[in-house]
Symmetry: C2
């Protein structure tokens, strides 16, 4: 009943939806990509597995899973769908032309039908919670196996669905598998009407990371050779953040004479300028490419190498996460957490809201609202190695709680 | 009269506007930045010059101007305002913490008033055409000099303004200077009621570029030593584009045995992988860092250096612009145009719509809608050096038409 109303409303708003779509995409998208929103694409006969990620966040979440999937099932062709343009950009950034991308069609029966007849889709794996009625209905008609991955259902969303219990039940009846993040998510899906045998609890794949043990060892060895304490790592800094780190560090030096600041800029094109900036500010500055370990009198050590973040992290006593003091949106705090290194983050964490919040909750990470607070935090920090490790271990707990989510999800997908 | 209605409507929609704002910014912005939308900021007593850029596009347009302004008037403190969050990100990316940023307050009299009392603004330079009634009115009340820079007024916009001629006249009466892009823009501003003596035609600062003559010479010298023809430059490629370039080039090689493809990846972290990709595809591949000029038997030459694009461009006979075959949005085609090198661009040019359109209009640039069309274009291209230069010269004309806009604007601003 509600589904018919839904179709009717869509029909009424169709001209408006099309207008908005065309206006937004004009000049940005070639016609062939635009038509995908109507379910129209070149016909592809070979069977594919589809991953649906609404936007950037979901693409980033699914990335390690999809890459692992490619390795494990190389014979399967993959298709990634997104709703947003920025999601599309992210897919291309990650996979180039190695994976096909389509925009998910607007949720009209006709468009979904076209979508499934243009593509020979065997399975559709939906990241987190996107339940589109027409899509799900047509998926079933075309015998497509539908799974929700990293599935999450907040209390609030569940309540909203339960206002129309019969429609909710109809909606979730199209799902073949629900891989729920946690027990409470699972419970709520059951409330909506998903039968128990379809649900598995996997943990969140966002929190599932692997640390290269070789690099970790390398870093720990380096740490033993290094007489500095405390060692503070400014990880993945962006333009404008190095000044902030250096200023805070200068103040800290007044009480901690033997401290070392490691700065690892996010982009290699900034290695030189950050080095010169530190020198200009009167720090005794060395580069990793010139000194494979920080000399005793070194005050600022520039990590001007790529792919060695784990080494720098293992070397550090405390991590200040870059991309969070300028509106970049932060970087992943799970690596320091997995290595038991406590962290400070700035006000901008919007790319990693979930992870950052959880790590702040367990006091592994502390948030500085601005550069002044960063300085204060460094001054107030208790520089006792045991205390630091204790703080760091809280982060490791969060990581451990979700370990294996990726593996579990992978085996359950086939 | 209309202004009162405008205020009234705003008042009615105020809760809705606030709700949208908070929802959008939640988790992204710290409170202090959010408050800027209400005109609230830390009081700053020193006098500043303000540049207002709505969003990313305007920030990118204004960048060279603002940088030059800093050099020419180092004693003046600058403030950049944007309306959008992405604009804010772009400002930080370009200037780090060297320039203050504020969000432009919502256009209520109260908020604009607060904005001008928190900041001691001497001049406000508005990029292109943003005419906010409350802002302009309050600017005048606070004796701020208001200039429109790179000002543009399309036929359509002018028509819309002229539906309310008295309001339009009132609005533009607040402007002290209008630096119009072209004669027709100027004419339309006069129609609205701007007095002639306030208007100057400057050309568009977007089209005003400078080529380093030393690098150009270096490239030309290299070209003389190089026996390959034609030399095709794939400039600033992103992930997924190298395959496209290599495939198109392989086909071209069947007819043009002596052709050379130069690939310059946009990001240095991809130098290695692009080199290996070309080798894997059976091309005789060399790197710039190993061979300072392409050896005679070289087929693909990887430009694995930074800051040398002008050299590569001068070396080329034809340029394929990267970032345009994947949804990155293209790169600036003015450099090839200024160097008289014809260009091919892909379907995604949304970061440089204006420039790309104009260069396509004069046939300097040709657009390939997809990778297949790129191959066809290369095959159909007439590989006659004179013809190529002729095509390239059309681009130079566009550049010349706007040359000096930046200088002119700079001197007129004070």
């Amino acid at each position: 009943m509600l589904f018919i109303l839904y179709q009717l409303l869509q029909f009424l708003f169709f001209p408006f939806i099309c207008f908005t779509l065309i206006k937004k995409a004009k000049g940005k998208l070639p016609l062939s990509k635009l038509l995908e929103y109507l379910g129209i694409a070149k016909k592809q006969p070979f069977p594919v597995t589809c991953f649906h990620c609404v936007s950037v966040g979901e693409v980033l979440t699914a990335l390690p899973l999809i890459k692992q999937y490619q390795v494990q099932y190389p014979e399967q062709k993959l298709l990634i769908t997104t709703t947003t343009f920025t999601g599309y950009q992210e897919v291309k950034k990650a996979f180039g032309d190695n994976i096909e991308h389509r925009f998910l069609p607007l949720d009209f029966i006709l468009f979904s039908k076209l979508f499934f007849s243009c593509h020979n889709i065997q399975r559709i794996n939906i990241i987190e919670t996107e339940l589109w009625p027409s899509l799900l209905q047509q998926a079933k008609r075309h015998n497509v196996q539908v799974s929700l991955i990293n599935a999450r259902l907040s209390k609030r969303s569940a309540k909203r669905y339960l206002k129309f219990p019969r429609s909710a039940c109809w909606l979730v009846s199209h799902l073949d598998k629900v891989l729920a993040q946690h027990q409470d998510d699972a419970d709520r899906f059951i409330q909506l009407g998903v039968s128990k045998d379809k649900i598995t609890i996997t943990g969140s794949i966002k929190f599932d990371i692997k640390i290269d043990p070789e690099k970790q060892q390398k870093g720990e060895l380096l740490k033993k050779k290094c007489s500095h304490f405390p060692i503070i790592l400014a990880a993945s800094t962006h333009k404008g953040e190095d000044e902030i780190m250096l200023t805070a560090f200068k103040t800290l030096q007044q009480t901690e004479k033997n401290a070392l600041l490691i700065i690892v800029p996010r982009h290699p094109e900034r290695f030189d300028s950050v080095f010169h900036l530190a020198e200009k500010k009167q720090f005794k500055t060395c580069r990793k490419t010139e000194y494979s370990q920080p000399p005793q009198d070194c005050q600022v050590y520039i990590g001007d190498t790529m792919g060695e973040m784990i080494i720098y992290l293992s070397l550090a006593d405390l991590v200040i996460m870059g991309g969070s003091f300028v509106p970049v949106g932060g970087h992943n705090l799970l690596e320091p957490a997995a290595l038991k290194k406590p962290a400070i983050t700035g006000p901008f964490n919007f790319n990693f809201t979930d992870i950052t919040e959880q790590l702040i909750n367990v006091k592994h990470t502390i948030k500085a609202e601005n550069p002044q607070q960063l300085t204060q935090l460094l001054l107030k920090q208790c520089w006792d190695p045991d205390k630091l490790t204790e703080q760091g271990e809280q982060g490791l707990k969060v990581v451990k709680n979700n370990q294996g989510a990726l593996e579990k999800t992978l085996t359950l997908l086939i």
